[in-house]
């Protein structure tokens, strides 16, 4: 991966100003996405992963602000410096997005076709008739049967899986270079989840686009991502190649996440749960944000925020004691094989 | 629950319009309570043998202080001016009591009726529900003002008749709200559990369902109070409600209309005849609307 990154996020800080105080939803996040790859962002709800994705497109609620000094460099342009109008030309065209609930993410009063055509007409110089043909082609491509008929139907007439396919058709109608998928399968049945993910992989191969896949589901990440960013409390905890992350975990939070996946290959007495709860983003603990739930935490963790240590080329961990995690993993593996 | 309540109250008192509403409401309440001190119910035109002004039998009948019926501009003795020989200030002060009386009685009586009808319809369902809801539809199909107007005249005019008419045609919204809420709550676990334990229907309604539906009803009642006072005043304005000379904001405005239509070009000199009773009514209704709005925001943040 020594290609030039498609997207570089540097020191991204997104704060929300609420009645109760400042919510530091994203607090200094760095990562990059290379052309054609899938970057998984994983974390529990409230970890700042969704806000990160909305920040890239600058689609925050009015009380949210991306702080001065944050950089979002896409295709050589710093998106932070673009005017609203220039930004608009990128949204839906170069960077597209799909959301968790296809039920509420599609406008109920317009037909599926109208909503796909709108994106095409906004960014491409084609006639209405051509746009309609393109919309039908797109629907066929995402595996919707009878696209000529479905194009004139309203979202509520489609099933959940079909709606998410339509949503993908809409997002990909302008052949974006980057697709941000925010929990694209969470609201769907398990069998349909697999179909949708499979569809996304196929289309990625065909179009050569990069994908940022945001999810709380480690299983989805394992099967679909090339590289992973683990987020907690608005910060990156660990970044690595997906295989390496699973094989050589170097952060207690990632370690906890991985242990909480049910496994079929070994016998488990009961499922592991990370103890404690996600801290209130209004009152993060001083020091490492994970210190309230971490089994390795000591005084130092409660005072200083650990830096991102580069463990290997491309593998970073925000933990003073990443070596202890390594030992714990080794011990566990030894136990399992014994 | 306690912290929840604290949060709710804090939210309520952070909202400037809610504070304005509550302040106005407290002000009007004080005026109503202390009306006999603010505007003593006496008539100085008729002193008794000791030279003290005569006490009024009924303080709600505004004393006639002058035989000239033309409006008299505000002065030191009559800060709001006079109309038809009566002191406007007196009428505005005692009219506060009339407004509270009308509003509270009509709202509580009609809410109670709505509560009963809605509970029966919602709880029993089936043909009882169907019948009661069609009756509700019928009552809702007559414009409120018109219905109140017709029934008031049939009953023979006067403030009490106005109130009866408004109660008879004022229960439908509450009934519908309660019914809808009960249909929703009925499916909830704790009610099903109570039913499974063999608890009587009536007790289920009173103990389990009503407490869960009472807040929306309360909010609705508050919101309705203002508009009911307006309707009552409108009926008085049309000459159907309070009799002439009664301390009622609506009937005071009834006088005014004749002067405005009659005296072209100089009506503006009689501004005080509209301003003071009109202002009192607007502020009174405003107070209830603001409070209702604030309560709705607090209890149902979705509706904001």
């Amino acid at each position: 991966m020594d290609k030039k990154p498609l997207l570089q996020v540097r020191n991204l800080k997104t704060y929300f100003y609420t009645e109760d105080g400042i919510v530091k939803a994203v607090d200094g996040v760095d990562f990059e996405v290379y052309p054609g790859e899938t970057l998984g962002i994983v974390g529990e709800s409230g970890s700042g992963k969704s806000v990160t994705s909305l920040s890239i497109l600058r689609l925050l609620d009015p009380n949210g602000e991306i702080l001065e000094g944050s950089e979002i460099i896409f295709d050589g342009k710093n998106l932070m410096e673009l005017s609203e109008d220039e930004m608009r030309k990128i949204r839906g065209n170069d960077i597209a997005m799909i959301f968790q609930e296809p039920m509420v993410a599609l406008n109920p009063v317009f037909t599926v076709g109208e909503q796909i055509m709108e994106a095409i007409l906004l960014h491409q110089d084609v006639s209405k008739n051509e746009a309609r043909k393109m919309a039908i082609d797109m629907l066929r491509k995402v595996g919707i049967p009878e696209p000529e008929k479905r194009v004139d139907e309203y979202p509520h007439e489609l099933s959940g899986g079909m709606r998410q396919r339509a949503m993908i058709a809409m997002a990909l109608s302008c052949r974006p270079k980057l697709l941000i998928a925010d929990e694209p399968t969470t609201a769907l049945d398990v069998t349909i989840q697999a179909q949708i993910l499979e569809l996304m992989r196929e289309l990625q191969k065909e179009y050569g686009m990069a994908i940022i896949l945001i999810t709380h589901d480690v299983g989805v990440i394992a099967e679909n991502a090339d590289r992973v960013v683990v987020m907690y409390g608005g910060m990156v905890m660990e970044t690595a190649d997906v295989k390496e992350l699973f094989r050589e975990t170097r952060h207690p939070y990632t370690w906890g996440l991985l242990n909480s996946i049910p496994r079929l290959d070994i016998e488990q007495e009961r499922l592991y749960n990370i103890p404690g709860i996600v801290p209130d983003p209004l009152h993060f603990p001083p020091g490492c944000r994970f210190n309230t739930r971490c089994e390795f935490a000591d005084e130092r963790c409660r005072k200083e925020i650990p830096p991102l240590y580069e463990i290997k080329n491309g593998h970073f961990s925000r933990c003073f004691y990443y070596k202890k995690v390594e030992e714990a993993q080794k011990l566990k593996k030894a136990g399992e094989s014994a | 629950m306690n912290t929840e309540l604290k949060r709710t109250l804090r939210k309520l008192f952070k909202n400037p319009s809610a504070i304005l509403g509550f302040t106005l409401l407290i002000f009007f309440t004080l005026v109503a309570i202390f009306a006999p001190l603010i505007a003593p119910p006496v008539n100085p035109m008729f002193p008794d043998e000791n030279g003290n002004p005569m006490k009024l039998d009924n303080p709600y009948i505004m004393p006639i202080l002058s035989w000239s019926s033309d409006p008299v501009a505000p002065s030191k003795d009559h800060p709001f001016g006079m109309i038809a020989g009566r002191d406007i200030f007196y009428g505005v002060v005692w009219g506060t009591r009339t407004a509270f009386k009308i509003g509270l009685i009509v709202v509580s009586a009609s809410t109670l009726i709505g509560l009963i009808i809605g509970s029966i319809a919602g709880y029993f369902g089936g043909w009882v529900d169907e019948f009661l809801m069609r009756v509700t539809d019928i009552f809702l199909s007559i414009p409120f003002l018109l219905a109140a107007m017709v029934l008031t005249t049939i009953l023979g005019s006067g403030l009490n008749k106005v109130m009866i008419a408004m109660v008879i045609f004022g229960w439908m919204a509450t009934a519908r709200l309660i019914r809808a809420n009960i249909l929703q709550v009925k499916e909830e676990q704790f009610v099903l559990a109570a039913k499974a334990l063999g608890i009587k229907n009536f007790i289920i309604i009173v103990r389990h369902i009503l407490p869960n539906t009472i807040f929306p009803v309360l909010v609705q009642a508050t919101m309705r109070l203002g508009s009911l006072v307006i309707t009552a005043a409108a009926l008085s304005f049309l000459g159907l409600g309070a009799p002439i000379g009664y301390a009622d904001w609506g009937s005071m405005l009834n006088y005014t209309r004749n002067y405005i239509l009659g005296a072209s070009g100089q009506a503006f000199t009689y501004w005080y005849t509209v301003f003071y009773p009109g202002m009192a009514m607007v502020l009174f209704v405003l107070a209830w609307n603001l409070v209702g709005d604030a309560l709705r925001d607090v209890f149902d943040p979705k509706l904001k």
Binding site: F99 | R134, I142, L145, V150, L238, I260, G278, L303
Partner: protein
């Protein structure tokens, strides 16, 4: 949906039956003697002996049971005979027919500013949430909602008639009335301002309009306020929806996000509120026609009610309730037209 509309249309006579039955049974309270006053010239009435009274009561069947008299009245209604109005001194049906166009004219003209301005201001306030304009519009709305129409009407009359002399009360000026009543003036629609234009009398059109502005201002004031409040909160709710974010993520310009994606959805609850508005505008015409001394159904009803002209009252209630029910039906149809989930569901 079609089945639903047909069901509602079938229900219409049933509800009207119920409405008139309620009003009719209320008039029972009056007793035969009071009811008789609707049939006899009041000057003659006082001079009648008790025997004469009994005879007349017998003659008009006022001692009959309520049901007999109700169905007699209903039979008349089905033949287009609503009885005799004492206040109008003509048959009720005739009196209503003459007055309806004036009230319709007023209500229609009032609806234009209400819908246009109310929705426009509501959207503007929602888009600028918590900014100066939003606060200003909300204060304006809550004062409007608290200001009774008859108080506002009096203020309008005071300023625009008494002081400025612009908008006089009444329906039209004396000179205009003479022309309108003359046989050369053709009554095509019976709506004064439109007939004036058809007859090519621009002067009468302006005169009619001059008399309409005060009442329009009075009625519409309250409903602007109401509609803008509903539009604002509905718009705010919709602007927080995910499909609005989807539209933005597609690169839709903010103008289209608001006026295309959000507004079409926000209008759905607004249309339901329009039902309350129809009722409000109707009741509003009663007050406004009285304040501004206009010819129309509202003032006729108010007069009939105060003088216990019960045939006229029943006729008026029948009219107002029909308008209300049909108005609500139209709103339901509009609702379905806006929301595909209901139309196709």
């Amino acid at each position: 949906m079609t089945a639903y509309i047909i069901r509602r249309l079938l229900l219409l006579p049933l509800i009207l039956f119920g409405v008139t039955l309620i009003i009719f049974s209320f008039t029972e309270i009056l007793g035969p003697e009071k009811l008789l006053s609707a049939y006899v010239n009041p000057n003659v009435f006082d001079k009648l002996s008790n025997e004469d009274l009994d005879k007349l009561i017998e003659k008009y069947g006022l001692n009959d049971p309520m049901w007999t008299r109700y169905f007699k009245w209903l039979g008349g209604v089905l033949k287009g005979d609503l009885g005799w109005s004492v206040t109008a001194k003509e048959p009720v049906a005739q009196a209503i027919k003459e007055r309806i166009p004036y009230t319709i004219e007023l209500a229609l003209y009032a609806m234009i500013p209400v819908i246009g301005v109310g929705i426009w201001l509501g959207v503007a306030a929602a888009v600028r949430r918590d900014k100066f304009l939003d606060h200003f519009i909300r204060i304006f709305a809550i004062i409007g909602w608290s200001l009774p129409d008859f108080v506002f009407g009096l203020i309008v009359l005071m300023i625009f008639y008494s002081v400025l002399g612009w908008f006089p009360p009444g329906t039209m000026s004396g000179w205009a009335e003479e022309i309108v009543k003359s046989p050369e003036f053709k009554r095509v629609t019976h709506i004064l301002s439109i007939d004036a234009l058809i007859n090519g009398r621009v002067d009468i059109f302006w005169d009619a309009l001059r008399h309409l502005i005060g009442p329009i201002l009075t009625i519409s004031w309250l409903w602007w306020a109401y509609l803008l409040r509903i539009t604002r909160s509905s718009m705010l709710e919709v602007l927080g929806k995910e499909y609005v974010r989807t539209a933005r993520a597609k690169g839709v310009p903010e103008k289209d996000v608001i006026h295309k994606h959000a507004r079409k959805n926000a209008m759905i609850p607004v249309v339901t509120v329009a039902g309350a508005m129809v009722i409000g505008l109707l009741s509003g015409t009663v007050i406004v026609e009285v304040i501004f001394n206009r010819i129309g159904m509202g003032r006729f009803t108010a007069q009939a009610a105060t003088q216990l002209d019960y045939a006229a009252v029943l006729g008026s209630v029948l009219f107002y309730s029909s308008v209300l029910i049909i108005g609500n039906l139209i709103i339901d149809i509009l609702y379905a037209a806006l929301d595909p989930r209901i139309r196709l569901g």
